[in-house]
Symmetry: C2
Subunit: 338 residues, 2 copies
Amino acid sequence: MTDNPPSLQVQDIGEQGLLKRLHKFCPPDMVGDDAAVMNLLPAQQLVITTDMLVDGVHFSEGTTSPEDAGWRAAAANLSDLAAMGAQPAGITVGLGITGTTPVSWVERLYHGMQSCLHQHNTPIVGGDIVRSPIITLSITAFGQAYPNRIIRRGAAQPGDAIIVTGCHGASRAGLELLLHPEFGQNLQSAERDSLTLAHQRPKPRLDVLPLLWEIFGQESPIPVAGMDSSDGLADAIVQLCQASAVGATIERNSIPIPPALNQLVPADRALEWALYGGEDFELVLCLPAAVAQKLLNQLGAGAAIVGTISSQAGVWLIDNAGIYPAQQLTLNQGFKHF
Amino acid sequence: MTDNPPSLQVQDIGEQGLLKRLHKFCPPDMVGDDAAVMNLLPAQQLVITTDMLVDGVHFSEGTTSPEDAGWRAAAANLSDLAAMGAQPAGITVGLGITGTTPVSWVERLYHGMQSCLHQHNTPIVGGDIVRSPIITLSITAFGQAYPNRIIRRGAAQPGDAIIVTGCHGASRAGLELLLHPEFGQNLQSAERDSLTLAHQRPKPRLDVLPLLWEIFGQESPIPVAGMDSSDGLADAIVQLCQASAVGATIERNSIPIPPALNQLVPADRALEWALYGGEDFELVLCLPAAVAQKLLNQLGAGAAIVGTISSQAGVWLIDNAGIYPAQQLTLNQGFKHF
């Protein structure tokens, strides 16, 4: 991908030299002005989201290649757009790097972002590169959606089914395997890879949107509340309930856990990672029970109806098998502290 | 503005506590979802720009209050939109802060951004707050413009007049006065304030756009090339010429220098700061000579026609008084190095 010596550092080629190398990751008509110019489709609303990632806080050299850091950053932003019901249109990239950051590291980061974005026809339209004592990546993604198709957190109704678009806990397990390679030696290599890839290359679930539009047709607005599970499945359900002023009952045996995870750790740990591990980037949607099954039939392996929205406050994890007592889920375990 | 004790730190209230305090800086319907949703005007293009600022690199506690850091960051982004001919629609804010950053510092930063944005009816529509070892601010501003009114760098034509919308060198002088308070004791306090304010509270020249539209009416596209002078006046002229594959002749006695700056330093230093100081955030526009005077009549004090676009490559600083030899302006002095 690069003909630079691995030792070439950003300070050797300066800002202009680096920008020249990075222009190949952008559409040629987008670069060279003070700002990027884009066409949006008529009658659509602009949907816009920002994520900032800091070396040592959100990723680290030890477990994250620059390609993976780039992929994950792009995927997290596209996932936020998917959670709003929006199709991506482009991203801008703010990047802080040290003078001694290898040029190849920066190019590999952009390559990782581009690999993820290409799958969704989304260009890098602009950005800013600055000197910083710590590598910092700030992505703003923007997309578009018809106003009647926007998905918000506050629209859940009592009686709605809660559907998740895929398995949970895999990303957390993958991180554990990357941090502790001696762990999980009982797994076959394909199972191992499925978990580490879930962590390194999460997929934003933009593919779910056309399925929803197909099911609801011209219904307006579409009766769906939702968000993504980037901060954990429990966090997503609690946030949805708080925003909608409702509660929920979640059936613990319905939570989809990848088979490899059940081989890796005991059931209670697997459940904990599924609920609180985070970064699975699936969608958590609340929609009328009558149509939830229709959507479920269209979704791939791992998707499941995990519970029901209720009018009483509180999110309860219950056990239909009668073994475990009901347990209240809260935001606290999922909090990111400063 | 705040009823917090000055000692209250971000780590005392956590991410959720901080977000709650910052929601007051955003329109109430914009917060609480995975992304912000905005309406754009029909038939307009989206214009989008990003700037990243790092403590110790782009601002510092010594010379920059949090209010000023916020104002300047917002102003720099709005200036990029003005340079594209676009009206601002909103910004997102990515903020990296340490656990020990005072809550009041963060609120004062947002207050500064908001003070600048309010003057242009521009909301903060979303963002991300993360932990970082170094305070980092990444703003993405987006605006809108009719396609035929977009201002690009590459549209300058031989014969065009080069017009600057205001004085240059004031921001650089203001920085010097802030760094060295013992300097410039010969200035009156109003003159001092005018220079320090130019540095602390630069004004994005969005007010110039309606003047252009008025002059050109339905002419389409409007025959203007332009950018802002945030990286210096010399840098802007050289960049415009390179993007347009033309050259320019600049008359050194036409470059508008604030009177206070001429009292502060010798003429050659004043000229150097005007050409290379940067951060004056004026617009540098190339447009047909016949209409340049019309625009000049509408612009305030400090605006000036400083030179002419030519078909030969190279940007030359000439002296019509015949005292100084012609001198070529290059990007090199304006380069930011890693």
